[in-house]
Symmetry: C2
DNA sequence: GTGCTTGCAAACGTTTTGCAGACTC
DNA sequence: GAGTCTGCAAAACGTTTGCAAGCAC
């Protein structure tokens, strides 16, 4: 899977570098959301010289290729994850609890937005904020 | 309406200052979304010495009082508006078009999130991104 | 006069950029 | 060797903060 993406990069005239291989390995190693900083830390555990700005540049590139997506879960840094595990998020504004919401949760919003406004929603890019069950009491 | 809020401030031990009066006047003058910077520009047209940081501090204060809310319409600065005109937003990731979405659009998402996760959504705080009808063709 | 509020400058956290050298192909 | 990618340092961006002076009450 890492190799597939590297092939994709090469196919577009890109080079295969340590930074890219390590970043992809980190991304594929765990399905969770991680910030650029967290990914940098994981990559740097194996290749200490890889700079945070390189991580950002490669995350951009991977996003352009459609391999990953980033999401905003609230104020603060963006979270990155593989595009294949796409889903929305419910984030508690009070305690920060983050729930993954299957696409299907947004189906009816999706339908109404389409009918009323011709608007195709992408529920992945920004989280839906609110109060979790514990905090809404 | 401006005076009502000033009264509210005073009731909580706060002071009524030029900065606050001007900021409220700007907020009430138009129902649109404006960034802190835009509001500062409007205020400074009348009272040039009022500093951006004062705008931020007062926006915080007004938000704490429930008079205004802020929303994130995408990357970039937050947008502020009166709490009375609360609504969600649909923002096109491609052209930036911003549609105001009545609360009612989110009713069914709201219901499902509540039933499935005990989660009370607040569709106002973050916009729902996607593609507008022109850009999705 | 008490103490909330302000202007200013400086810091913040996240992300982007310019550049010269290093590496992949 | 051509051209992409990297590390580094510095800047950009929106926002927050510490402080001493200023103003509302």
């Amino acid at each position: 899977m890492v190799e597939d993406v590297l092939g994709l990069l090469r196919a577009g005239g890109g080079r295969v570098t340590t930074a890219r291989r390590q970043l992809l390995e980190a991304l594929f190693a765990s399905p969770g959301h991680r910030t650029a900083e967290e990914l940098a830390a994981e990559v740097q555990a194996r290749a200490p010289d890889i700079h945070l700005s390189t991580i950002y540049r490669n995350l951009d590139e991977l996003e352009r290729l459609g391999v990953i997506v980033h999401t905003h879960l609230g104020h603060g840094p963006a979270a990155y994850h593989l595009a294949t595990s796409a889903h929305g998020h419910l984030v508690c504004e009070r305690c920060g609890l983050t729930l993954e919401a299957p696409q299907e949760l947004f189906r009816s919003l999706s339908r109404v937005a389409e009918n009323r406004f011709g608007f195709q929603i992408d529920p992945r890019h920004f989280a839906v904020l609110g109060r979790c069950s514990a905090c809404s009491r």
